[in-house]
Amino acid sequence: MSHLVFLIPIALGLGALGLVAFIWSLRNGQYDDLDGAAERILDDD
């Protein structure tokens, strides 16, 4: 029982971190140009 006190908040925290990261990247426009991102990786500069 006592280990749940740590594990559940950690599990939820990690999940929430992922969610926040996704929403941040979405608002930041990182998914706006997926085709462009695929091409830009070939750019040497």
Binding site: A11, A16, L19, L26, D33, L34, D35, E39, R40
Partner: protein, 785 residues
């Protein structure tokens, strides 16, 4: 006779610069701090080299702070400071880099739609997060946690599920509320009811009860439904932005000449009958007008379907939308812009599409049948259990919720969008863009195909049919000259001889409305109209050869014989094959064309199309289509021009080639790229397979309900069973829909010489015929001078 009237050209350029600046300012988006953002549509951008060229080239312009190219939407965003920029010449700057561009208007619907997609995605992410975590906790409860742990887990689940369901369910609550306010039922009403009731009961249960909760059911329900909703949205959005990229709108203003001959740019709405306007070569005529002065050739193919360029002469009346090909024209305005030919076509089109919007989509039809049943069944089980248990409202409510959740159409909500998304992807790879799912549904019902001729059955550009007279050397000179012009007839003649390396011509000039003149081996040569070319030829009255070609280009060396290139608008290479295939599939076929009877009958005979009607106006075409529909036919209209737009909107379903007019593409349900018509039978086959898949999905979803609902009504459904049933039926439906990827595989490879279907996502988004002659051809011509 000079090349092009020299006085008007620098004037026109200065005017264009000022005009560009005004338009750019009007379309810019204010970011604050004196910073403006301008978005430009650059359809030809397709690789990392383009991105780099554009970003590096544009960032050196004065006043520009930041340039970002977006390859997915084929747009370039420029952030700039107007005070430092002077005349903002972004479009000319892009043209100098080799990219044709147009301004992207922020006010248009597209940017709002982006926001909807983003909101749906955030809701989906929140629902996914909540569903995963709550399900994890629920699994331990189902696995047999002791009472204390169960209570703790239920409370944590509630803490996650309640805010998540309230937030992520918004799209459903809004739509359900809107439906209720209009005294309607849609599928979102039982969905909202199930989610909210389940939440309410579960909160009570977690706090005071000993039983299981429905938290995981409500969040996973939302998660599955949001997937369907997002897929549906994504499909419409992508097709729409693909079509937007291609669009080049009608001019929004014109250069008006004042009494003193000074040109100034005015919006179309301010043009009055009697005004004089100037239209440069390569521009479209903005309003209905009469030619006052100037010599040029006109391309009217988008307006009336005639493929042959018309010589422009003073006194000729022309419609808005006509393309001015070779020389500047001064026009006298006949009618205000809102009564022009284009405006009339738009009115006709709106009227036609209104009758079409009354068709109910299959998903809505199902929802209309299904939603009342859901409510009645769950309401009845609640009342039944109340009577049976003698007023145990708690058990009765639990059963009613179980019924709502079990019947909630996860599989049903995915049945249509997932099948259509997979089909749209499948078609996208074959070069067909589907504008919305409704088009696919109607396409699967079509039984009659009606074609436009020019630009649809034919390529819409003349090709050499036969060559009369002349030596190989003369052909080479003619081809060399022809290559320097942007006139469609000349472009065709350029294919007369491919080996032109050794040919040296000098003093080339293009004479508007007549042709090209140059000096070759010290002798004057001409390429152009027969009467003009024969002025320098030996036999001045050479009779034109009798052929069934639609136009000709002549060539002569001074004192030599006339060489005649007979041109005709050739059929697309696979037109006859495609028509044969369509007839084999049981379609009735027909042509409705604005062109003259001769070429239309010839096209019908060559392709094997059963009926052909010629010389039709846009409203004639519409009424023919409506007659067919009234006779019980489901009409697929395939057309491209401005004159087809109302008929495209009036037909049950319509397809347009990407090379057609903007308005044609905008009113068609499907747009196909590439040079062939092979996309049509493929699209029909995929649409029919989609219809079958959708029906199978419904059978699966309803079969699952037939099995699960009695269990729920009898009170055997626990949250565990609900979760399993919901997920498995959804997965089954998705898996069944993915089979659509296999449809018409054998047809994925188009005949040789045409672009591979897999290139559809890239280059084929550009119009496949050469774009309207722009200044791009001019520098070459001047370089030769």
């Amino acid at each position: 006779m000079t090349c092009c009237s020299p006085s008007s050209v620098p004037n026109q350029q200065a005017l264009n610069r000022r005009l560009d600046h005004e338009r750019t300012l009007a379309a810019a988006h204010d970011l604050g701090n004196g910073l403006l953002q301008t978005d430009l549509v650059v359809p030809a951008m397709h690789c990392v080299a383009c991105i780099r060229t554009i970003e590096n080239g544009m960032s050196t312009l004065p006043g520009v702070e930041n340039v970002r190219a977006n390859l997915s939407t084929r747009r370039v965003s420029v952030r700039w400071r107007p005070e430092a920029a002077g005349n903002a010449g972004f479009i000319p700057a892009l043209a100098a880099l080799g990219f044709e561009a147009s301004l992207y208007d922020h006010a248009s619907l597209a940017s709002q739609a982006d926001d909807t997609g983003r909101k749906l995605l955030i809701c989906l992410a929140v629902a996914g997060f909540a569903a995963a975590n709550v399900m994890l906790l629920s699994v331990s409860v189902w696995a047999g946690a002791d009472a204390e742990t169960q209570r703790l887990f239920q409370l944590i689940s509630g803490l996650i599920a309640v805010p998540a369901s309230i937030f992520a369910g918004q799209p459903f609550y809004r739509s359900a509320w809107a439906a209720l306010r209009n005294r309607n039922l849609n599928m979102d009403v039982p969905i909202s009811l199930a989610v909210l009731l389940a939440l309410g009961v579960s909160i009570y249960e977690a706090l005071y009860g000993q039983h299981e909760t429905w938290f995981e059911a409500s969040v996973s329900l939302l998660f599955f439904l949001l997937i369907g909703r997002y897929l549906d949205h994504m499909m419409r959005e992508r097709a729409r932005s693909a079509i937007l990229q291609l669009s080049r709108m009608m001019p929004s203003g014109a250069s008006k000449l004042s009494a003193s001959g000074e040109a100034s740019y005015v919006p179309l709405a301010e043009l009055q009958p009697g005004d004089s306007i100037l239209v440069a070569a390569g521009e479209r005529v903005p309003v209905d007008a009469r030619i006052a002065s100037g010599l040029s050739d006109l391309d009217r193919s988008l307006v009336n379907g005639e493929s042959v360029a018309v010589q422009a002469r003073p006194g000729l009346e022309i419609e808005a939308g006509v393309l001015n090909l070779t020389g500047p024209l001064t026009l006298e305005v006949l009618r205000p812009a809102d009564r022009s030919f284009v405006a009339n076509v738009i009115t006709l089109m709106e009227a036609a599409s209104q009758s079409n919007s009354q068709q109910v989509r299959i998903a809505d039809r199902m929802a209309g049948l299904y939603a009342p049943v859901v409510h009645i069944v769950s309401g009845a089980s609640f009342i039944g259990w109340m009577l049976w248990t003698g007023g145990d409202w708690y058990t009765s409510l639990n059963v009613a919720i179980a019924v709502l959740i079990i019947t909630c159409p996860c599989a049903l909500a995915l049945a249509v969008p997932i099948a259509q998304v997979v089909a749209a992807n499948r078609l996208f790879r074959s070069g067909v863009m589907v504008k919305d799912g409704a088009a696919l549904e109607r396409l699967s019902d079509a039984d009659t195909v009606v074609f436009d001729k020019t630009g649809t059955l034919t390529l819409g550009e003349p090709r050499i049919a036969s060559i009369h007279g002349g030596s190989d050397e003369e052909h080479a000179v003619a081809a060399m000259l022809a290559r320097l012009s942007t006139h469609p007839a000349a472009r065709a003649a350029a294919s007369a001889q491919s080996a032109t390396q050794g040919v040296l011509v000098s003093d080339v000039q293009e004479l508007a409305g007549l042709g090209l003149e140059a000096v070759w081996k010290g002798r004057k040569v001409r390429l152009g109209r027969r009467s003009w070319v024969s002025e320098i030829a030996r036999s001045t009255v050479a009779p034109a050869p009798q052929t069934n070609a639609t136009s000709e280009v002549c060539f002569a060396v001074a004192g030599g014989d006339i060489v005649s290139f007979q041109l005709s608008d050739t059929l697309r290479t696979d037109a006859a094959t495609v028509v044969r295939k369509l007839r084999g599939m049981g379609f009735a076929t027909g042509i409705l064309s604005g062109d003259a009877a001769g070429p239309v009958q010839a096209a019908a005979a060559q392709t094997g199309i059963e009926s052909a009607i010629s010389s039709l106006s846009p409203s004639d075409k519409t009424s023919h289509v409506e007659q067919l529909r009234a006779a019980g036919r489901n009409v697929l209209y395939v057309g491209d021009g401005l004159n087809d737009a109302p008929a495209l909107a009036a037909a049950n379903v319509s397809m347009a080639p990407a090379s057609g007019s903007d308005i044609g593409r905008a009113s068609a349900g499907l747009v196909f790229t590439g040079k062939g018509l092979a996309a049509i039978p493929v699209a029909i086959e995929v649409a029919r397979a989609t219809g079958r898949t959708v029906r199978q999905n419904f059978v699966l979803a309803i079969g699952y309900n037939m099995f699960a609902v009695p269990l729920a009504v009898l009170g055997y459904v626990t949250p565990l069973i609900a979760a399993l049933a919901m997920s498995s039926s959804s997965i089954l439906v998705v898996a069944n829909s993915l089979r659509l990827n296999l449809v018409a595989r054998h047809q994925a490879i188009m005949p040789s010489g045409q672009s591979a279907p897999d290139a559809a996502a890239g280059d084929e988004l550009q119009p496949s015929s050469p774009p309207a002659p722009s200044d791009a051809g001019k520098p070459r011509l001047e370089a030769v001078k």
